[in-house]
Symmetry: C2
């Protein structure tokens, strides 16, 4: 069912500093920042040959990333995103197997303009899993 | 400098249960377990079309994963591994930029039989970074 690793996401307290780190120290190819107010984040992508790293900084009130940074002030690995062909079929299969889908269980439109769902980290060894239909 | 994302590693308290989760619930292609006594881990790889997820269970006394699981009993994202062409050149560049290399700074042979180094998570937004020469 799961296909490509679409991205890994890293929460960071200072997006400009993190972008400079990935660009200058690690020599990565970084995007311009994109503000996504409906997700409460500003995002920079580090484009690798086979996948992406998504650097996430909180944006606005109630950002889910702000809560994460309260517990992890210097940042950390926030989630992984796997691609699926059919997000509704994936959701139904996961629910049948007892995995919990976050929110109301309906896909939302994610950072790439495609339907996404998040799965409860307690059901996946402490790892927040995003599924994206591609 | 950084090339492909070679893998993301997830520490798990029960490798058999995690393997079943990734195989049966997420529908991933999982490897047989491999014991790596010199690294203090037993590993299962989830082979995705573009990269791998490495599931890590502690093996033996003093496993670095055991310490991680003490703080994160249900598991969690442990590290990310980027490929580099020349690990010595990468190390020297990183050191010049102020990033700390763990251990004695000399590459060790990793799970794939290739030279690896780990970078201090405090220098990379709370993310433990492995570099592997390919």
């Amino acid at each position: 069912m799961i296909g490509r690793l679409n991205h890994i996401a890293i929460a960071v307290p200072d997006l400009a500093a993190a972008t400079a780190l990935y660009r200058d120290t690690l020599g990565g190819d970084v995007s311009e920042p994109q503000t996504l107010p409906e997700h409460g984040v500003t995002v920079v992508f580090v484009n690798l040959p086979n996948t992406k790293v998504e650097l996430l900084e909180p944006l606005g009130e109630g950002s889910p990333i702000a809560k994460y940074l309260d517990s992890n002030p210097s940042g950390g690995m926030h989630h992984v995103c796997y691609e699926v062909d059919d997000i509704i079929a994936a959701r139904d299969r996961l629910s049948e197997q007892g995995a919990r889908v976050l929110g109301d269980g309906e896909p939302k439109i994610g950072a790439h303009g495609k339907p996404v769902l998040f799965l409860h980290p307690k059901d996946f060894n402490g790892t927040l899993v995003e599924l994206e239909q591609v």
